[in-house]
Subunit: 196 residues, 3 copies
């Protein structure tokens, strides 16, 4: 389940990268690269920071396929994507939560302190978008709209609290993801500092 | 002593990041992130380059606290900060020297060649500022005002010369830091290609 | 031979970085840094991604010397460099091919999958230019002109096919480099989406 949502989340992140690339009139390769960076940049930086190399994107070809699918989506289904904004937001929010889970989990496996694990969760979930914006020479969106990061930090805390009372990992992940996605979707619903 | 100055230097660097973020009208989270990146980005890149992971910022929470303090400073004491420019410059210059020391020392511990150790000293001291400018989509200041880097390189050389004649590490660090800070402050005093 | 071309290719890449820095009116240190980043950034990122630290640029001073030579070239021989565009293009194209070879080879030595090895070849050959453009706050050229990356990907495939039929490494490298350089030069010759 976690793996499935990891891939779905990556795909949605990749599409945001591919659409961003298209807006800067990049060609298909630029779209592919920016999709890949947006979808996997967070996990890749986490791997490099922890010393857990090579990063996942070089271990499992599924991330390349997600990027390719994202390029196809951005090229041929961008209008449809825009229309389905509600579904996209939900998948994006769940993806965000799953990324936080994965980041915190891997950090704890590597014996990082709890606050560092939350940091790794935030980096995993948000740094792909930061790199996307830097490549496009724009000030990273997340540095201007804090709710995105706050949702991730809250999710990381939830994970650590459940971890402490010995909740099974699967339930832990479920609740963490639901927390992140919930905060994120409520923020969009009430236009509370909404970051696309 | 070295650790104390490391933290003070980090804090001053963090404030420069937080103020830079505020100028780009980022919110508090953006200010915090940019503070953290500016203050710890150099040491983090050094760690990743050497393979000495996880980087210090994920091992000691003091750097997070320095960033938080920097955000508070930038939010509530920016005018005071501007007025105290002379003290800030001195702490900043000493911080620069301490960062060079730490970078060179760690690189030598990892058996890097002398010229690579100087490179690591320069990276430790200056790369946080480079990342700060890239995130703000500005051409890095240090690439336009070389005296900053020259001071670091000179300090690195001093360190290596003293190391070769078996000076105790504490005196070595003191002289190195004084050299970097001295060059930096003289450059400001005589407006010699002054960088921020 | 491979090493010689590695250095020549690095030098040509470095000059492109130094000239780019000069256009943004950076000083000599900025030129040196941007030259170094352009010439060695791809290999450095590859090293960090694979966990093969420290990166080559911190192990062999030849890359620093290549950057220094590039700064001198950009300062005193930029017009000559422009006039010799044909020779420069050939060396640049061969350098690109050699970089792909080195990247793929090292990735295979570290037991990465074939598609990940091609990725490392592309990163080695192109990421220095990406970093050069990000530092200059420009959208990376390679994301807008795909033929550069396509040539690298094709070269990576050639390498892997030859590897599979047990071609000696030296011949393998020669054919791979020739493929990349050939595609690249044909693209320039027929102005087919020509980059730089």
């Amino acid at each position: 389940m976690l793996h499935l949502w990891d891939i779905l989340g990556t795909y949605v992140f990749c599409v945001s990268g591919a659409i961003a690339a298209r807006q800067k009139s990049m060609d298909w390769f630029g779209m592919f690269m920016l999709a890949l960076i947006t979808g996997t940049g967070g996990g890749t930086l986490r791997s490099m920071l922890i010393g857990d190399t090579p990063p996942p994107v070089f271990r499992d070809p599924i991330y390349l396929l997600a990027s390719l699918a994202a390029v196809v989506t951005a090229l041929f289904a961008a209008p449809l994507w825009e229309k389905r904004r509600r579904i996209v937001s939900v998948v994006d929010a769940i993806g965000l939560g799953v990324f936080v889970c994965i980041g915190v989990q891997i950090a704890l496996d590597q014996n990082l302190a709890w606050w560092a694990a939350i940091g790794m969760g935030i980096i995993t979930a948000t740094f792909g978008g930061v790199l996307r914006d830097i490549v496009r020479t724009e000030v990273p969106l997340i540095f201007r709209k804090e709710i995105y990061a706050t949702a991730c930090a809250a999710g990381g805390l939830v994970y650590l609290l459940l971890e402490r009372i010995d909740t099974p990992a699967s339930i832990n992940c479920l609740v963490t993801t639901a927390s992140v996605a919930g905060i994120r979707l409520l923020a969009i619903r009430y236009a509370l500092n909404q970051s696309s």
